[in-house]
Symmetry: D2
């Protein structure tokens, strides 16, 4: 039986997710950081933007103000565009760097490869993703070099771009030196560097560096800055630090169904989180909750983190009996990455609830 996005009984959902998605939303769960709602600062800006009428398609005051807020935050006169979600933002950005017969180098765990249903190939009309498997899951200059130079005949798509996820899907953060080394390799090879920043703010909070230091100052050409996971209802920002790359990008967004008519409602929340500093506070809170959980169970035998806890995610390797026990206690989490349990903390994570989770893990593991 075919059903809609509300997925009543849709067979095309793994049992893991099926069972997960069908439960009620209360009490608070940490299965994903997009279970969270809209943060107060974003909400207040939307409320204010809703007073009176405004010009459509992005030539309103809110959109100008949000764009300028990005330029101020990044200390550069970058091009700023707004898209509805991360899949579109990443795909549009990569499509602007490639032709269909080009290829994009990414890590095996990259969201563009594993969780966007072929969107990058669709938006680019065929640009191939060249996947690197590395220790720790981060791309390295050597991995890029190997993929970029392994083939150079016309029977194989020509590499034109590299994309890194900051932080990675498993919560590791590229250091500034690592990014600088990658961008140097890209320049040597004539490749452009794109950063998938669905959780960009969490990376900034983790490294304690400025957005500028993590992007154009270390050679990033294009950034997709995630707003949804940062506390907004919907919306990502695409920043071109090399303005020439943004030529006609507004037409690209329009044709691809990513130009909002009432743009102010996509841009105002950015004004709310950027001007208030909430973008960073929200991320820092999520990171702190992840560290808090990791610390609280560090000494629990039989339970160990699968990956270093550097941002807002904790992946736990635990006996199936423990995972089952947690489920029976009402806890929800994804287990389709590495067989462990993924917990992700958003801007609204309740510390008491985090502590409850830690306590349950300890009790069940005992």
């Amino acid at each position: 039986m075919v059903t809609g996005q509300d997925q009543r009984g849709r067979p095309a959902v793994s049992q893991d997710r099926q069972s997960l998605e069908q439960q009620q939303s209360q009490p608070q769960q940490f299965a994903s950081d997009n279970y969270a709602g809209i943060c107060p600062e974003a909400w207040a800006a939307m409320a204010e933007a809703n007073e009176g009428s405004a010009v459509a398609y992005g030539d309103d005051d809110w959109t100008h103000r949000a764009s300028d807020a990005f330029r101020a935050l990044f200390q550069t006169n970058c091009e700023v565009f707004f898209a509805f979600n991360g899949t579109a933002a990443n795909s549009l950005a990569l499509a602007s760097l490639c032709q269909s017969y080009h290829s994009v180098i990414c890590a095996a765990s990259a969201h563009v490869e594993t969780d966007e249903c072929g969107a990058p190939e669709f938006f680019s009309n065929g640009s191939k993703l060249l996947v690197a498997t590395t220790d720790g899951g981060k791309l390295t200059p050597d991995a890029v070099l190997a993929l970029a130079t392994g083939r150079s005949d016309i029977h194989y798509p020509k590499p034109r771009a590299v994309t890194i996820t900051q932080p990675t899907e498993t919560g590791q953060v590229y250091t500034l030196d690592e990014i600088a080394a990658l961008s140097a390799t890209c320049r040597d090879l004539g490749l452009r560097l794109h950063m998938d920043g669905a959780r960009f703010a969490n990376a900034c909070a983790a490294l304690g560096c400025s957005p500028a230091e993590m992007t154009w100052k270390v050679g990033v050409d294009v950034l997709c800055f995630g707003g949804t996971k940062n506390g907004m209802a919907v919306g990502e920002a695409i920043l071109f630090f090399d303005r020439a790359l943004a030529l006609d990008f507004d037409y690209r967004c329009k044709q691809a169904g990513q130009l909002a008519s009432k743009m102010r409602f996509l841009s105002a929340p950015w004004v709310g989180v950027l001007e208030s500093g909430a973008w960073l506070r929200n991320a820092a809170h999520g990171n702190a909750c992840a560290r808090r959980l990791a610390a609280a169970i560090a000494d629990v035998s039989g339970i160990e983190p699968m990956f270093p806890v550097e941002a807002n995610a904790v992946f736990l390797r635990a006996p199936e009996a423990v995972l089952q026990g947690l489920r029976e206690n009402g806890w929800r989490f994804y287990t389709f990455i590495g067989g462990g349990a993924r917990f992700m903390f958003a801007w609204d994570a309740d510390l008491a609830r985090v502590d409850q989770l830690a306590a349950d893990i300890r009790a069940i593991a005992a």
Copy 2:
């Protein structure tokens, strides 16, 4: 100079729009019905949806409830999907009816042909739009027949679908008989019938018929129901009355960057406007304002409506001096359709402001 969607000095904007888009939003303007904000019912639902956390990607209670609200309103167990905007909704729906080597028949004034920057061709990877020019701008069975049978060799894309805009871009409404006649022709020719309902509610209000009567009961296969112009921040609904056509449509939406992670914020507003009846009230108000303006200036010599006023739009043919006078009085309107002045009324149109417009037209024309 290249600039972002905030379009600071973007040259690729006609002067007409340039001057239009750069003015302030106050006092209320009627240049477009998407200058309006979010209606109270939609806003209240978003506020309620923002309490606590919810499952992502559409398996939350709000999305189930919104989908059921559509099924109840349309009195049928249709498939329901949510997309971010009308360009994407129309393009995805048409792409699901066609292969790249097929074609879609539409009116010359159809939004898919004139204002979506090639989106239908992009999403379908090349499906061609076959354009019919008709008196009054509505598609007719004869026009469909002529385009569908004019060529039948493999050197020309094979027609597979027909799309009608209800109401049309210039504000005319297809009668139920006209739609039934078109769908009969479509069935005879093996074509599917799609309805672009960016202002579907205005058509329902105009005809005083039920959504079911205007769609599946007269042979419409797929409807794109506009939420943005009806009073929401963002979002359209795609309804498949022939459920078989919706096979894997959720994958299509995901790949095309149209699956919202925090889906509740796309679906809750629908609950707000559908369950409260605001969807119809909002539309009726816009229609009434259009009729009010038309009636108020009916006897003004030198000013005449370019098209019958059947929905929420009034297109006025007036001497350039009058148009200039209106501009000098601070009025904004589009003039790129037929050289007249377009005024469109949304859910929030202020009657006093409408009357002021009528008075100014009368005074300036005198």
Copy 3:
């Protein structure tokens, strides 16, 4: 019933073509100039190329030699690529000039618009064709200007290229001045000029000018030079006079299934027709046959040419009774353009057979 390209009873063929395509090939017909076979010079080159083995994918001596023959013929160091047919050559060339959100200006009768089944939109992933209807069917600077400047907002695909068919589908030839005027307009508007030269040789023969004079010397950026209609089995050449436009075009051809493994068999025929001068002789013969027919029936009352006879085509307007009489005499011709009878003459047209046709027309018309 579904059938293959051999089209046994395929319903998707117009009756006109159906009856046409199903008859035997003898005696010689003039319905299309691709009813002709391979000319001796092309055949001899293929035979010679077939001796021994050769390197694949275009790095063989024949391909080098054919490329150099083009450079010599066009008196410039242009980039040369080989594609299998005209639909692919035109579509690949236009795709290299556009992004998906751009548009291409062409005449209403252009082959890319009327007879390539949406190929330009497919190869470019959505670039829209903007169609101009002009007297005589040729594009004009005014028509290009009107289409290029009529819209300049992001809701409409941005014009990036102009394509002209030389000669046109109805057999008219752009003069050098006309092409120069168009290219000047293109330069003013920032547009690239592409020439669809499916019958390029016929145009050269008609104007008595050099290939260089008809292309880069008057501002053509890219030319698709037709080999099939000129006397080859298969194959078109794509010439980039602005070499920068050819960047990575070999990858584009490969990805689009247009790179021949045994390239020598696509390139050798070009050596055969270019070095021997057959390319021009073949075209001149076809043109002469068209003029011969037109002259022979010039005084026949009730029969008149629908278009000026400038290349190898004659379109006759005649009473249906006359057309039927011709069919009964065994003559085949297309009638789907303007309701007249199209006769096209290839390199192998038999003068006696041409005279027979003229005599039959005269007799039947009497």
Copy 4:
């Protein structure tokens, strides 16, 4: 510097191929089986087809005859289409089995994955290839099952087809039982089975089975039958054993630039090789030459085949000194697969030259 397909100094060619492609074609080399020319039977048919004129676009007697020859050879009323090359044939066939949000399962060494420059993704507008790495390089039911069931959420493209290369790129042949087992798994999973038969004839010769036994009788839905490597100048055939899958495939070919106007020259060679039995003789000869070489050097120490020699390819693992010695003796071969030396034998392989190669290997290795 940019150059054309004749690749004068094109930088985007690996040195390995560069050096290879730039040498003269004589004496006969075994670097690739598409270094060979046109076999006598194909040539004779082309010569005969070149007499007189013929109807265009595939409704000529030669195309009907070739299609019927395939139906007779495969003992079934299959749909038959002709494309210019294997990249296009495979991509069009897979695109007809998938939508853009679907995926195709293939082996890591599959030509569609490694040597078609993203063509499958381009023709399908984004269908992703899911790659299986298996021992021996053949797909297995377990590998298909793992990839087809590993993910079943809408964030990952839904598997719809499986493609196998028969024989594989390294020259192994799937047994009938292996194919039957794969097709059974495909049926269980609702997947379609496509066979890339670029060297299909070599597989038939190797197994000594009929084309029917290797395809539809063991569950293959669509076959791409390679003509180029089998002794033709250009051209592949696409056979749909499930005729329903061929719906509108002729439009797909036309739009994708794969419909030949002078189709007879694509179809006549098939008549030549199929009716005469040359298709099988040519393949058998190539296979015999591969076995001959393998046998002649079986006892040479330090030299060993990298893969079982089952078709017309021999991949040798040898010390670099030996490879260098062979190069110095004028031998050409690809080494970009596994670091060994690939030798491929076509219909025209000279036995004396094969023996010379064996002798040189023995001498140099000594």
